[in-house]
Amino acid sequence: MSSNDGIGRLRAIERQFDMESVSVVDHRSLEDTRARYLSRKSGLLTLELQSLGKLPKEQRAEFGRVANEIKLKIEKSLEALQTAIDQREKQAALQREALDVTLPGNPRRIGHRHPLTIVRKEIEDIFISMGYTVEDGPEVESTYYNFDALNFPINHPARDPRDTFYVTDDLILRTHTSPVQVRTMQKMRPPVRIICPGRVFRRDAFDPTHSPMFHQVECLLVDEGVTFADLKGTLERFHKQFFGEKTKTRLRPSFFPFVEPGAEVDVSCVFCEGSGCRVCKGSGWIEVMGAGMVHPNLYGFVDYDAEKYTGFAFGGGIERYTQLKYNINDIQLYFLNDMRFLEQFL
């Protein structure tokens, strides 16, 4: 047998493999093909290599070179096929476990904070960042702290049992958070920089604009050199923080027994940005707070030197701020606790 014949056979095996490998599509046909050409006992190429010894010496090198070249080629080819089949099968497996990802996810129940809590914390955080300390006090309060020490004359209409809940003749449900001002001033010397958020009560029937129970936050600053201009600046800063930098704040003269000058505080309407709408009744302004310079009579109750110290105080309803933040127009919603309302808050 000549080497040409031998190499011719090898090339024939190579061509046969090239044709057959096209139909290798899975592991079984791959293994069959591998065995057919490379199996140790009966592989076509193996058998050819075993016949190497029978060739004349001078032809062996050439035959061996070609046989090895073809063997390497087949092995490489089989390897590539193997990888391709692995890939395909992995893909098929992934395909098989595919989900309908458009189905909704499993619902998770996460609780909701009450809107008044959200707003109260937000207000607290703003004032804490401006250097104020949070104080609280009792809800069942003496008439002394709620009225007398706040300069309410004995005949002031706010004391009327038609407006204020009485527990005894001199014990009431506090009608504002202002008693905390007096309590705090009693226990410390200036500078006093506090806010008092809390629950208050007035004898109003429960309707869309009134509730016998609601919440206020009050701010008090007493120090040397505190001015009316500082009051304006503080209110302006707070409202910009709370409603946004575009918000304007306006003070109008008013009267509260425990401040002088007293003022009503308006903010530019958060809904129309001051251009006039239904909520602000076309005025562009919304009333949010009462404010003023601490009345010197209060210093008498807590033994501060009114010549040395001045201060300001202001307070507003947390429900009011919540209403403006979320556009809620019925105060009853806060206290009826209907889940369909509450679950809208984060």
Binding site: I154, N155, F165, T227, N337
Partner: protein, 670 residues
Amino acid sequence: MKVSYNWLKEFVDITEAPQQLGTRLTNLGLAVDALESHANDWIFELDIATNRPDCLSHFGVAREIAAAYGTVLKPPKFELCEAGKRASEVFSISIADTDLCARYCGRYAAGVKIGPSPEWLKDRLEVLGIRSINNVADVTNYVMMELGQPLHAFDADLLEDQTIIVRRAELDEKIVTLDGAERELNPSVLVIADARRAVAVAGVMGGAETEISASTKNVLLESANFDPLSIRKTSRGLGLSSEASYRFERGADVEMARYACDRAAALIQTVAGGTVYHELIDVYPKPRKPIAVNLRRHRIKAFLGAAVQDTTVEQIFKRLGFQVNNTQEGWNVEVPSHRIDIIREEDLLDEIARHYGFDKFPATLPEWSGYGAALPTEAAERLLRNQLAALGYSEIMPLVFSDALKEQRFRPNVEPVRLLNPMAEDEAILRSSQVPSMLRTIEWNLDRGVRHMQLYELGKIYRHGGENRSLILAATGVLRRKTVHELEREFSFFDLKGDVEAILERFDIQLKSSGNSVSAYYHPGRSFRNADLATFGELHPDYAEEYKFRNRIYIAEIDVEIVLSSNGQRIIEAIPKFPSIRRDFSLLLTTGTRYVDVENAVRSVEIPELVRIEPFDRLETGPFGDSKYALAISITYRSSERTLTDHEVDNFDKAILNSLKQRLGAELRQ
């Protein structure tokens, strides 16, 4: 108070339109609540602060406007022609209780003709919402709206002995007031009396018996000044208020009484004819002493934050009718009688701020050093709220008023805080428990189709002499809805217990059964109590039935003050160096044996290497008879010093099984 634009213009020249004037009034502190056009006039609804009774009249409001515009204030023009006798010859007036009546001015008009008012007078009153009565009564109302001084006209011939005595009422004295009601009086009420009886409740309302009528010929006109506190008490006591009492209880101008009396007498002459007798009877035992207040220049900047020019300051006060004298430090300002609100320097600073303009002051931030801080428990409270939200609980905020009877069902041994003047009988107390308001909230939602909920409230409960914050959790319905992916799962007792444990664990508090009995509103077999720290469980079926609840309701009450103030120190341990070994046992236990006993039996062996014991399966029935049940527990051991050997762990197991057998008769299930 209603104010007519046209009427104002009688006292001050106004060039601005009503809308602009309204803005100006609001900026002066006379807030315009409404502005309505009315025929050829505009009516302002003004919200006058309680300290400014001087603005409860057209003349008073005009005074502020004139000061603001710097124009002239023109008092009403009238001429009074006195004739006939001297009033004091036919009539006598005296004040018995001068502490309650500072001044009483009277005019006597003879031969008046009572009849309807002329149209101009009717119109003036009607646009302000005041009903026309007759010409003389209308004049008194007119002058009140004009000058702020309440007046009253008596039919002089019906006054016994032609006498007026201002005195306290006698005990059990009675009077029928103009509104037709009979009123019982007492010595705290000041009355106007004739020689025999009370003929008017001073400053509040006249009496029906001496009322002006068609047959009245002679009129005694009253223009007086009464003590504000006394008027307020009387008005409240009798449940009777009027335009007059509204002004007197805020404080009328004592110097206006005489002028207003003449003004009214002149008007009566115009609209009802007759003769106004000579002399105004003026009983004024202690005339008002002028009040002057010092204003220091430096206080303006120190208090208001901006300096205001001297000339501006002086101008403001002069225009408002104050006398201003220069002093070394600033000014001595003499206060006019109508400004009863001004007694100290800050009151003057308020006037400057108001009339100079709030908007002209800069907006600055106060200087400070120091720091701000939340309430001491705030950080803990936020942690708690986050934990509750993570566990699925939504916050509620119910009203704290409650019904005494309902409350008693939950707190039978507590005397609640009662209100003297509740809004309604079922809101007469402050709650002593959070449970009823929570159940009401659940009821509200169930009634509206919300069937699955987890709620919490962090709020106060009240008792005599104190109030505490407290935490309540409640849950009902399913924890997980049925979806295409999962089965439905009902909320259970052990979900509640897990939640309570998770919350307490956050604060390094361990839940321990204290064995104390729970309240009657808990299901006795499905509730748990840890002393005063926490009680939780299923609502008793009897109570559930009262509320018509069909699903099980779970509630947990937690003393949040204990939780929030818990200063449990969390110590973070290093990650274990050596592996742990877990051993599982399937135990056969006598029915009725509680898990806590199993755990105690295991722990009683006191193996330091025991790190965890956990039950993971429980079988009530099986091939072990009715008197037993099977419980599978896993026990985890670990040493911090070495890897445990099988031999060591076998010994631990043996000791534990031995203890279980000794204490509980527990067998290993074969």
